[in-house]
Amino acid sequence: MTAKVVTVTSGKGGVGKTTTTANLAVALSMDGAKVVCIDGDIGLRNLDVIMGLENRIVYDLVDVVEGRCRLRQAMIRDKQNPELYLIPAAQTRDKSAISPSDMVRLCDELRPDFDWILIDSPAGIERGFRNVLAPADIVIVVTNPEVSAVRDADRIIGLVEAEEKGPAQLVINRLNASMVKRGDMLSVEDVTELLAVKLIGIVPEDEMVISSANRGTPVANDAKSRAGQAFHDIARRLQGEEIVFPSLDVKEDFFKKLFRVN
């Protein structure tokens, strides 16, 4: 096995990076893959909370890097998916506690034992972003259909290209079809036309995402939920399957919308 390293990032905070990482990990592991998630948001960890594993943390990423424990000791097995592991971030340190080359070494050590290594990013474009970008084979940029999030996604996609880690792939999270229909939200076309990268997922706005995250069971565990289904589709596209995007039943003149947005 040689794992692919997927870094999930966004630039802007609060668009759903951590949610996407957790759900993608669950979906991939439900498809039978061996998956490990790394929380790269040192100092502000929350992947463990969304996966419901916070009370099992003994060692973290910084402990591994600084040699206080072995890699295996920091890996926490998921409650429901036996082939899914989490390496949590340290809560008491900051981004400077690790370096890009530490992350590359860590991922190289994990690669032989897994199919997928998913890394959740901190918001921003500074040191923490470099740390998570360095080991990436695939970069997924998460955005919301709103102007500020798309602007930041554009910046991140540019940085990913500059580091020769591109082209990034795009997930549009929290799409509200009826708001798009009313013209109150950017449409999928508006976003993809500007960002001009491969679209790998559209996740509809779904209250179950929040309620399930609060319970510590990512929504993808319920493959029948709307958002859960979307994350399973992304996982299958990552694995190379061609999955058609489900219709969002929104029809409006494309250019009319484009110019209203600008």
């Binding site: 370096s99 890009p100 080359s101 470099r130 602007r151 554009d154 020769e164 001009a196 110019f259 600008n262």
Partner: protein
């Protein structure tokens, strides 16, 4: 590994270090990049306390460096607590790489030192205005500066900025910010296949008015009786 800095006589040092206003200027000698890089990093490791926290400008001579190589070096230097502030090179590709990674390609104070360190190459280009050509989409946050004309084959997205002494020519959509004629040239123009800019400035004059609704047609911005206006590109108009 041999510390080449300690070698004297027949073996020239791998690099020279000079203090400049803003930190250190390291000038690499010519040679195989991977070898030079390893020796440089080896030397830095041995004297890591000296380099800790340093701001370094690196003169790589005619090395042609891709983003992966330069990015890796920057990250390695970062591990030693060194900030790579500038990369100076005679190679246009290396300069472009540095710009893309947000690393400067000039140092103000040492500017005069650099040409003296290396014999000037014979000009092989035709006389004419220098231009920078980029085949890529300029995304938010990217900034291209040039004393001459800038030509982009791709889109200029909102949040991207172009500052040109000469003209700005965009074979794509113009949705960002551009300054043409930054040295005061009022005859400079900005042209694009589709013009919905955030802002355009020519010499000292800015485009005024509300954000426009662009038409999908080639247009150009120029100064007409003291104001910047945008008009459709027609053979007769230019």
């Amino acid at each position: 590994m041999l510390n080449s800095a300690t070698l004297t006589g027949e073996q020239p040092a791998v690099f020279q270090i000079k203090g400049i206003n803003d930190g250190l200027l390291i000038t690499l000698r010519e040679g195989e990049w991977t070898v030079l890089r390893e020796q440089l990093l080896g030397n830095i490791q041995e004297q890591s306390s000296f380099f800790q926290g340093a701001r370094v400008a690196l003169d790589v001579g005619n090395q042609v460096l891709k983003a992966a190589e330069l990015g890796a070096l920057r990250d390695k230097l970062g591990d030693f607590g060194i900030t790579l502030t500038a990369v100076i090179s005679t190679s246009g590709i290396t300069e472009k790489t540095a710009l893309m990674l947000g690393i400067a390609t000039q140092i103000q104070s040492a500017k005069k030192v650099i040409p003296a360190a290396r014999p000037k190459e014979e000009p092989t280009t035709l006389p004419g205005e220098a231009a920078v050509f980029l085949h890529k989409t300029l995304r938010s946050g990217s900034r291209i500066e040039s004393p001459g004309t800038v030509i982009i084959l791709g889109d200029v997205n909102p949040g991207a900025e172009i500052f040109a002494g000469g003209n700005v020519i965009i074979w794509g959509r113009m949705r960002g910010t551009a300054q043409a004629g930054s040295n005061g040239d009022k005859t400079a123009i900005v042209c694009a296949m589709e013009m919905t800019p955030m802002n355009i400035r020519i010499a000292e004059v800015s485009l005024e008015g509300k954000p426009r609704k662009g038409k999908l047609q080639p247009e150009f911005a120029s100064i007409v009786s003291g104001t910047v206006i945008i008009q459709p590109w027609k053979h007769s108009t230019y």
